[in-house]
Symmetry: C2
Subunit: 395 residues, 2 copies
């Protein structure tokens, strides 16, 4: 596919939700709803009926999904706050374009082919990543989902317009899917060719670190009388970084909330969120344990306390080995590489044969406005995805 | 005055703006407006006309303030977020009660006597402490005040209902005041007697520390590729604490804002606010300089940057020495002590003879729900303030 052709369709989606400080496409916010409208238009142009499933995921179908053994490609529209434009949408735009290539090559799928857009992959609105795919696959308690509220107090049911009684596993839908392929922009400068195939997703998780001290006046409280949880938080930020470097893992504390968060007040409490990932489970466990030990030790010195709570933890996800090797060979021996990021494909992989394709990221920037892939590499990704769909659905 | 009598009037004000996590009485918010209504009721019960000046400060008068050489007592109603109930209101409640004591003693003021409630002393809504008294005294540019907006985008004029063209110096009002006395709860366990007299306010200020890095994906960005401003922020929090301890000053970073503040994103930027205070100007300057140097050095190692901006800096305030000594002697040689906190009295002191009385704080907690003074000590404060008003206004 010519890069210009990719760019032409990309340009119809790219402006939605883009601001001076990156993309803000929270699930079911006006920009994400506009992306869903765009999905419906693209499906209609290709004669593909669209449905929204019980968990808020979108599906467009070529052929009758009831026939079973469907091949599905797709990703998600939602972004982190101030995120990039490629993470998610590239997998949906490339799926529609890959179907166009199949048609132009005169190939008619022998199996139903779907394009999917999963809901709330980033967890930016309701706090749980891969919300739509997890619910579909039975990896999230529907009652917990029904109780979720965004920071403004809006429930998942209110935001989505869905019946909360319908949240939950969708075994019939899963049984009809023979393979799922998610194309995604690579996120860390690990891919030096235009396109690659995923081997696995690192085990990863989010832990809430609650530091409690004693709120007091910043001007009048003697330094020796303080129980300042900001000190314990700060020490833990540095300790997490150091422990991750020592172990070859990744640790980040990028989110913080202080109470009362006033310039002239020693905080009563500070909450930080630890995002930690590593190549294997024991390394990840060791990393989180080391951070916890060091935070607790420092809290003892600061006269504060720390409580560590796992908010979500995902074990290592190995993609279907046969499918992975078949696709890598089909694409001419492209690189096979792991990723530190979670994806809907990682959730689907527990239930159906699943693969991921990566498109090169020249800068390694992800989840930020600088996230980027060239039109040439994206077009190469479309071509690779078309080859994969031809291999899986048209033979 | 009997403690029960203090407690009785205190109990009519204490519930306003009190929540499960302390007081929230932001300037011109519904709770602070309810405090202003309370002020008008108390004045009316005592036959004192009330006026709001051009800068939003409240005044109640006994006698004609136009006669000049007035004696004024007062403080402020507004609180920090989640603050205590005594910081500010104690100075207003005690002023009304002290006037009651004068009347009961058969003393008639020979000079006009006023009770004042200054606007936005904490700076919790518009970010500038002692906003009302600074404007009145010409210590804040009226155009800067007119441009202030609270976090919801509401301007000072909109919040207060005042004409912004009227903001600014009030020389006629100042010329009519012969002495100002602010009674305040002590804030750091420095006072071991029920009542004390202030010697000086430490030089102090607020500096905004802006740490800029590169936003990126927390899961996929190699540790070595990161430019994480949270690391520089964390190091600076610990450095500020250490430098303050080394110098016998106070340094606090209790307010923080990360962008985008998402669990799975390395922040693009983190802003912290440094509150620093010391016994003299050169110590304070050395403290802020040391923090700046260490933050800048660390930013070089993190591949980030730091910009330090002074938001407000107040030099040392020595209260009127003759008045201070006269009051300390009048009150039987009570302790004379400095404070690390800013006050409206510190602003007034630059224009009129000013004194402060402190009431003992048994826990040293301030700007937090645990802030407290016993009814006995508060009643002793009322008695002392009545003695002071008798001395200054009734002879």
């Amino acid at each position: 596919m010519k890069p210009e052709r990719f760019a032409s369709l990309w340009g119809t989606l790219a402006p939605i939700g883009r601001g001076a400080h990156g993309y803000h496409r929270f699930a079911w916010s006006p920009p994400e709803l506009a992306c869903r409208d765009w999905f419906a238009e693209q499906a209609a142009e290709r004669g593909m009926p669209v449905e929204t499933d019980r968990n808020g995921n979108l599906w467009a179908w070529l052929g009758d999904p009831g026939a079973g053994d469907a091949v599905v490609a797709g990703s998600h529209f939602d972004s982190v706050p101030g995120g990039g434009g490629y993470d998610g949408p590239l997998g949906i735009v490339s799926a529609f374009l890959a179907l166009d290539l199949l048609r132009e090559r005169g190939l008619t799928p022998a199996r139903p082919v779907g394009v999917a857009a999963f809901a709330e992959e980033e967890g930016s609105r309701f706090g749980i990543a891969c919300l739509g795919s997890r619910l579909m696959c039975g990896a999230l308690d529907p009652e917990r989902a029904a109780a979720l509220r965004d920071p403004d107090g809006v429930s998942l049911a209110e935001a989505s317009g869905l019946d909360p009684a319908g949240f939950g596993p969708d075994p019939q839908r899963l049984a009809g899917i023979g393979a799922f392929v998610e194309l995604h922009v690579e996120q860390g400068r690990a891919l030096t060719a235009p396109v690659g195939v995923a081997s696995a997703i690192w085990p990863h998780g989010r832990w809430r670190l609650e530091f409690a001290g004693e709120g007091n006046h910043a001007g009048t409280t003697l330094m020796a009388d303080r129980h300042d949880p900001m000190l314990t938080f700060a020490y833990t930020v540095l300790a997490a970084n150091k422990e991750a470097r020592l172990r070859g893992g990744h640790a980040t504390i990028g989110r913080v909330a202080a109470v009362p968060n006033a310039t002239n007040a020693i905080p009563a409490s500070v909450t930080g969120w630890l995002d930690a990932r590593a190549a294997d489970q024991s390394t990840l466990d060791g990393l989180v344990e080391a951070v916890t030990v060091r935070a607790t030790e420092r809290a003892g010195r600061d006269g504060t306390s720390v409580a560590v709570t796992a908010e979500s933890v995902s074990p290592v996800t190995g993609f279907d080995a046969a499918l992975r090797d078949r696709l890598a060979a089909l694409l001419g021996g492209v690189p096979v590489l792991p990723t530190g990021a979670g994806h809907d494909a990682g959730v689907l992989a527990t239930r159906v044969p699943t693969a991921m394709l990566f498109v090169r990221n020249p800068t390694g920037v992800s989840h930020a406005p600088g996230e980027y892939a060239t039109d040439e590499d994206c077009a190469a990704g479309v071509g690779a995805l078309a080859d994969v769909l031809a291999e899986l659905a048209c033979r």
